[in-house]
Subunit: 326 residues, 2 copies
């Protein structure tokens, strides 16, 4: 797996270098300062990496996909800035969020401006299929808004079904992974069959990725992620585990889960009671099964691509993302 | 001017019909309901009309410019939704604003989604120059964000120069008028010279339009606009008149204007004192001169276009917009 390790290191450093020099404009000060603050915050750069590896996987040149990869990373950062306002989150990646460090108005504007900056980067792509790329990108933007709206609607609901939840994360988490893979493919000049495979790959990857994220909230491995253990339970987040457990729960078990829905599960005793219901309803097992299922579906999509080192690297990337050996 | 009257009526009704059927999607309910609420609110449809007339003016077919015209109107509505949050405005066009009728989160999301919906409409344009169109559109989006940021920065400042103000409105008001004209031109297959003329025409039109709007706040003709008289003075809005007067004012006159800057000019007596300073410093005259100047500059741009009925109609449209005989 040496080639993969080498590739990802190179790609990531290229992404980080380029993204830092995107917002060189100085005026208006408050907007561009905040914009640079967001883009320089780091992060794992999952989406742009996915674009570059997807371009490789259909025989394209990853460098051609760089402007689009950056565009998708910038679009992702727009979602973070606006989501943080909506969720009233004070910190992200160990730093104050934009609306906290500046104010809400600046955060709204920076998010809006990042959309434009993202399109500008996208339009720098060298491809004869720019219309298709722009259209996919716009699909992603709309879907991510739909996903976030559904997520917010769910926050007020007490009977969200797992199916609805899957539909929501397919948009909220899936949309950008989907377009990351698909746009990388288009720039690599994928044919219709390959493009469909990458599109579906991104969707399944998104589902696996999000459910695994939900799972990590109740497993012991959380410290790595740098987020508080059982944070989802405390904050009443509608997760795969909560909704699955609620579907399976008896009346008395449902009462315990209501603490999560109502955001009143604060004490260790309450959290443990919730975790017990999760275990009794086999929610973590179901989540693990779902992750395995969607991972396997994603794998199968890759089988439809030509057998190349690029495809192997994309597979390695997916495995890495899902915390598996690669 | 029969042809113009006929054209504008036809164009406007086409815009209104089409825009009502753009958001047919139902889910997520809160997002699409609010989106329809915004797009159905009416308004003068100035920007899309400008796109259609600009397309005509270079010999294009206005129907080809309809998707782009709608895109620009949708983008304009995005700015209204987000600006209303930032300005904490409770009503617009006689109805509750989105963040008031729903909530701030929905308003943020609807605005974001409208950007995507706008790009989708734009991409439906039939033109061999779609890349150029998308690039202009993205310029407009970024500039309108910059303009709004500058406007917000000015709200905290007490020594804004008229020059800075002109730079701000060239972005905040000018950007969408500029791209409306330019994109209409591109779809009409304008050559470089014509495109430059339309681009500059949009800019000058924007400047004239905004300064005239500032002027209307202190003239008697306000009732037509349906907004409270002297609203800008009461809310401390940085307008051409305020900033011009402040540049010309003596020390004692400046003290009076500070009431506007500090948003403490509430009573009739205070407002009259401010109006007196405006008159003494000849601010309304200067504003009128500026409107006349930018109108004349805009007119001159039109002289660079081929002599056609389309150009005459575009000129009539500009005159109508600036409340002059046409």
């Amino acid at each position: 797996m040496k080639t993969f390790d080498h590739a990802i290191e190179r790609y990531r450093s290229e992404i980080n270098n380029r993204i830092s020099s995107i917002l060189t404009k100085r005026e208006p000060v408050s907007m561009y300062e905040a914009g640079r603050y967001v883009l320089d915050a780091g992060g794992k750069r999952i989406r742009p990496l996915l674009t570059l590896f997807s371009c490789d996987a259909v025989g394209g040149k990853w460098r051609n996909a760089l402007p689009a990869a950056l565009a998708i990373e910038i679009l992702h950062n727009f979602t973070l800035v606006h989501d943080d306002i909506m969720d009233a989150s004070d910190s992200r990646r160990g730093r104050a969020t934009v609306h906290k460090k500046w104010n809400e108005n600046i955060a709204i504007l920076v998010g809006d401006a990042l959309i434009a900056v993202a399109y500008h980067s996208l339009l720098e792509s060298t491809s004869g299929r720019l219309e298709e790329i722009t259209s996919l990108f716009t699909d992603g933007l709309l879907e991510v808004c739909e996903g976030q709206t559904l997520d917010m609607e769910f926050e007020q609901m007490y009977d969200v079904k797992v199916d609805h939840y899957l539909n929501m994360i397919e948009k909220k988490t899936g949309a950008l992974l989907r377009i990351a893979a698909a746009i990388g493919g288009v720039i690599g000049n994928a044919n219709a069959k390959q493009l469909k495979a990458l599109h579906e790959f991104g969707t399944f990857l998104g589902l696996a990725f999000q459910i695994q994220d939900d799972l990590l909230d109740v497993t012991a491995e959380l410290i790595k992620l740098g987020k508080p253990v059982h944070n989802d339970i405390k904050t009443g987040k509608r997760t795969f585990l909560l909704l699955y457990a609620n579907e399976q729960a008896s009346k008395s078990q449902k009462l315990i889960l209501q603490h999560v829905f109502n955001r009143t599960a604060g004490s260790t005793r309450e959290i443990n009671a919730v975790l017990d219901v999760y275990t009794q309803t086999k929610a973590p097992d179901a989540a693990r099964d779902a992750v395995a299922h969607y991972t396997s579906m994603a794998e199968k999509c890759l089988d439809r691509l030509p057998k190349t080192e690029g495809r192997d690297n994309l597979r390695s990337f997916a495995n890495m993302l899902l915390g598996r050996d690669y």
